[in-house]
Amino acid sequence: MKRATLIFFSLAGLLAAAIAAALLIGSESISPFGLTEQGRAILFDIRMPRVFLGACVGASLAVAGASLQALLRNPLAEPYLLGVSNGAALGTLLAFVFLEGYGFARPILSFAGAGIATFAVYQMARSRAGMNVERLVLSGVIITTFLSSIIVLLTSVLDAARLRGYTFWLLGDLSQATYDGFYLTLAAATVGTIVLSSQARALNLMMVGERDAFDFGVEVGRVRMIVFAMSSLLVGTAVAASGSVGYVGLIVPHLVRLAIGSDNRLVVPMSAIAGAIFVVLADTVARTAIAPRELPVGAITALIGAPLFIYLLRRAN
């Protein structure tokens, strides 16, 4: 317990440091002392909502990843790989095309898309014998590619001008951050993390087996619904705000487990903080690497995440 407390506070400290650094670094240099009016606009109107949104998106995706891994009994489960992010992206696209004027259409349809995709993957992956890695990854690949092709179909029909922005966003893009978007993702991240942390003990049991969990007192069906609903909420709001930022839900919980073990009472909340740090740092790279041009943040997380995923996959076998 003491070790966990220590790690918790170090992570919180790291997050504060990362946010501070991110606020000070950008394609334009501004000094925190003696802010010009322009400097103020850059700091408060552009950088702040973006950095804060990044932190919330990172937390949301990491927590969703951690709980999906516990529920599906597989350390390699992840919203992006499982097609959940694509489901959310499709929902957002539909809102973007057909419900342009309605502000809340995006996150709501995104949430619905995420939920449907989660459900589909779960149904495909389970069998009498229970779930195994191959089946899960396969189901995820099928759902992801299926949803991708629908997205491509829709975007082919769309006007080319609007398309340009959308394809950038599909890879994860925090440049359209607004304070409203930040508040919404903050609310979702908070609710999601708290609810899923409260199920942490049940998740510990479910990680060993649904049968075991049932035998020892877990209302399996109820916990499953809660995890599906919360992870859809988390992924839905994150994707609606910033597109599909991949691999966060995979790398972060895994690194956290390497540090403090698999007890979800620790893993879930800590993944939130570690996820926030990860995305804040990745986004800082995304917006400074080729300044004044920008890279999509999802490209940076994938660059780090994909090789790490391959490494993890090989270790698992």
Binding site: D45, A161, F168, S175
Partner: protein
């Protein structure tokens, strides 16, 4: 099967195959011209292209090229254009054969054109071979910028057999370009920001001909040194730019300047101009319209809003 019967069987099989191939070969569409009167020319990329002496059937695979062909007086020779070719009016009724990125090769071949005109945006390798086998020439048109437009029109006129009309059109455009050049003040070019899309924020960089267009109209693009043609710009950098004029390439996602410009001189002084995206971004004859409108916006009595 008895041995003798098997021999008969295989023999007739081979005969049948040969007959099928012969029939197949005979039913290949014949080229629209005989081999005799072909001229070899170099297209805009320096490629050698065999162009028939008399050209009557051509296909254009870019809206800008369609406009250039019409300007050169050869619009009536077009038998196929892309779905986006909507100018001039005569182009609308021509048969559509796909778009620049994904042309319908079957439809093109079925039209039996002699020449297919493509831009550098097309993926040549994909269909060049197929068309080559059909003896359909593939000619690349590459417009380098505003001043290159009249030259391209002249060249097209030569190849397509409409030299006289092409020269006249080219001459008129050249004059208009010169008029713009001489009527502007070059000592204090306004700082111009060209916004291609509001969210995400896309602008024009060093690789885009629009940057030269702005310069010719007497302005200076604040993003002229940024690499690539259409970079996605960091909002912070945009906020620090303070453009005096903002040009919006008018399309659905680009009706207003991005929020970051709200304190810029351009927005405060109301110097925000919308230009039809088609005339601004197609490297064709209407670029001259664009430069005229830009010059008016930068230096003339132009008011903010659609420049028309």
């Amino acid at each position: 099967m008895a041995y003798g019967n098997r021999k008969m069987y295989f023999a007739s099989l081979i005969l049948a195959l040969a007959a099928a191939m012969a029939v197949g070969a005979c039913s290949q569409p014949k080229s629209a011209v005989t081999e005799a009167n072909f001229v070899q020319v170099k297209d805009d990329l320096g490629r050698a292209v065999n162009v028939p002496g008399e050209v009557n059937r051509i296909v254009s695979l870019a809206p800008s090229i369609t406009e250039l062909v019409f300007a050169a007086g050869a619009g009536d020779k077009l038998v196929g254009v892309t779905s986006y070719c909507d100018f001039p009016a005569g182009a609308v009724s021509i048969r559509k054969v796909g778009d620049t990125q994904t042309p319908n090769v079957e439809a093109i071949v079925a039209l039996q054109p002699q020449l297919v005109l493509v831009s550098t945006a097309s993926q040549l390798e994909a269909f060049a071979e197929v068309l080559d086998r059909q003896k359909i020439g593939v000619y690349v048109v590459d417009v380098q910028g505003l001043e290159d437009v009249p030259k391209r029109i002249r060249k097209l006129g030569e190849i397509l057999g409409t030299k006289i009309e092409a020269d006249v059109a080219a001459g008129a455009l050249t004059r208009r370009i010169e008029v713009v050049g001489s009527s502007i003040r070059t000592d204090a070019p306004p700082k111009v920001f060209v916004q291609i899309s509001a969210e995400p924020l896309f602008t024009v960089g060093s690789g885009s001909f629009i940057t030269q267009l702005v310069r010719h109209a007497g302005g200076e693009s604040v993003t002229k040194d940024i690499a690539t043609g259409y970079p996605k710009l960091s909002k912070e950098t945009a906020a620090a730019m303070d453009p005096e004029v903002i040009v919006l390439s008018d399309s659905e996602d680009n009706r207003e300047p991005n929020e970051v410009f709200r304190n810029s001189p351009a927005v405060r002084n109301g110097r925000v101009y919308r230009i039809d995206a088609d005339i601004l971004s197609r490297p064709g004859p209407r670029l001259v319209d664009a430069v005229e409108k830009l010059a008016e916006a930068f230096h003339g009595k132009g008011e903010s809003g659609p420049v028309n």
